[in-house]
Subunit: 236 residues, 2 copies
DNA sequence: TAGATTGTTAATCGATTAACAATC
DNA sequence: TAGATTGTTAATCGATTAACAATC
């Protein structure tokens, strides 16, 4: 179990002599920076490989060497979520791996539905390993009659008209958005009204959705390629 | 033309009374931080929309409002590359758009080849607009005899054996990597030996390539989904 | 025990924001 | 001209790195 640092309350201030400053410090931990969050999947990936290679224990400095991070950063990152190591020993690879999985929420039984079974949508359905990230892909939606009713790689394809009905019966954690740009916002909003908590957005546009509690994670291919373009173009 | 800040030389120190500190400052500009670089494609995207909406001029504060950045940050970002605005007026949308395109290297006639015409590779070939990012997709490579020889959406598919031969005749700026994990590193290395400058890596693994001058840009779907998983899982 | 390595506090570094003189 | 807005310098904020007491 990931032992998240207990939230301090007034009693702590009275019982132990803690100053206000350190209480604020402690509470800030609840808000982990996105820099740290975005490194977590890399930790997961690397720990997995170490685990499968049969490695039992690893120190922050060794892990740092293998991942190209400093030992300090690794200890600092992990300390946002609890105390997982042991002085003089380091970290148990298997234990830390499970902790990271738990921190990432991969044990929550998350589910996903996908809208837009074009080439990219189909590629995700057929080839992307949702379970590797702790998700189950339950259904996909499209308008084309020739694929509605099919089952692709175990995933049933329904007509988009059925989106709300389906989600009412089977609430999903995340909606995967692989529809054309023109209907991206509309489809995202329908998913959100049907209670998904997050949108995994593959349309090359900013959805500009600011519903409280709704998270949009963008995968902008063209931003990525343009960044690469910049980096290979340096110096005229 | 993007007027990049002229590199200061000794004469500047002699002519004007500039101290060493400010020269160093000036030179540091050559190294633009990745934070800034990763924002450039978003500028490009937004300026494009403003341009197509017929907007002629925009101030840093208005652009900031529409992009969710501070005016300061926008002016600071742009100042890494030159002076594109005018006091009291702001920026000309069309001009700034072209400047950003140039900064991103989108006018360099970059080319790409793709290895691995599976579902994802095919989705990129058929649906991804390379030209939007200043690239031309010249060819794709695979081993499957049933697709070798075909032309998909204008892109000829060759056997992977022909990769080196092809690149020798037609050097490419970037290699798009959509092959299975097992042959990812090997294929990337072949592309690099054939003089590509960058690898656009869609395999869910770190390539660990450290060739000087070679840039690897990762698109890690699973990292992205796991980040989303974390964000929708907060508080137990 | 002695050596190793943690978690955390302090120091440093870098990136964002604010302020303002320059000027269109 | 007066108002607006830039580019840049200074101030602030946040993230990374270094240092070290605690302890396995």
């Amino acid at each position: 179990m990931a032992v998240r640092p207990r939230r301090l309350d007034c009693m702590d201030i009275i019982k132990r002599d803690i100053d206000i400053e350190s209480v604020i410090e402690e509470m800030r931990k609840q808000n982990v920076s996105t820099a740290v969050i975005r490194r977590l999947p890399r930790y997961y990936r690397h720990l997995n490989e170490l685990d499968r290679a049969g490695m039992v224990r690893i120190s922050s400095s060794a892990l740092g060497r293998s991942m190209g991070l400093t030992a300090s950063q690794i200890r600092q990152d992990l300390s946002c979520f609890g105390e997982f190591g042991q002085q003089g020993y380091g970290y148990n690879v298997g234990t830390l791996l499970r902790e990271v999985m738990e921190i990432l929420g991969m044990d929550r039984g998350h589910t996903a539905v996908l809208a837009g079974v074009g080439n990219l949508g189909r590629a995700l359905i057929e080839n992307f390993d949702f379970t590797w990230s702790g998700f189950q892909l339950k259904a996909a939606f499209d308008v084309r009659p020739e694929i509605v009713g099919q089952i692709i790689a175990g995933t049933p394809i329904f007509h988009v008209d059925q989106l709300e009905n389906y989600l009412k019966e089977h609430p999903a954690s995340v909606g995967v958005l692989t529809v054309p740009r023109s209907i991206a916002v509309e489809t995202a909003e329908r998913m959100i009204r049907s209670q998904v908590k997050g949108i995994w957005n593959f349309t090359n546009m900013d959805l500009n959705i600011h519903e409280p509690g709704i998270v949009v994670e963008d995968v902008h291919f063209s931003d990525s390629l343009q960044t690469l373009s910049y980096l290979i173009s340096e110096e005229a």
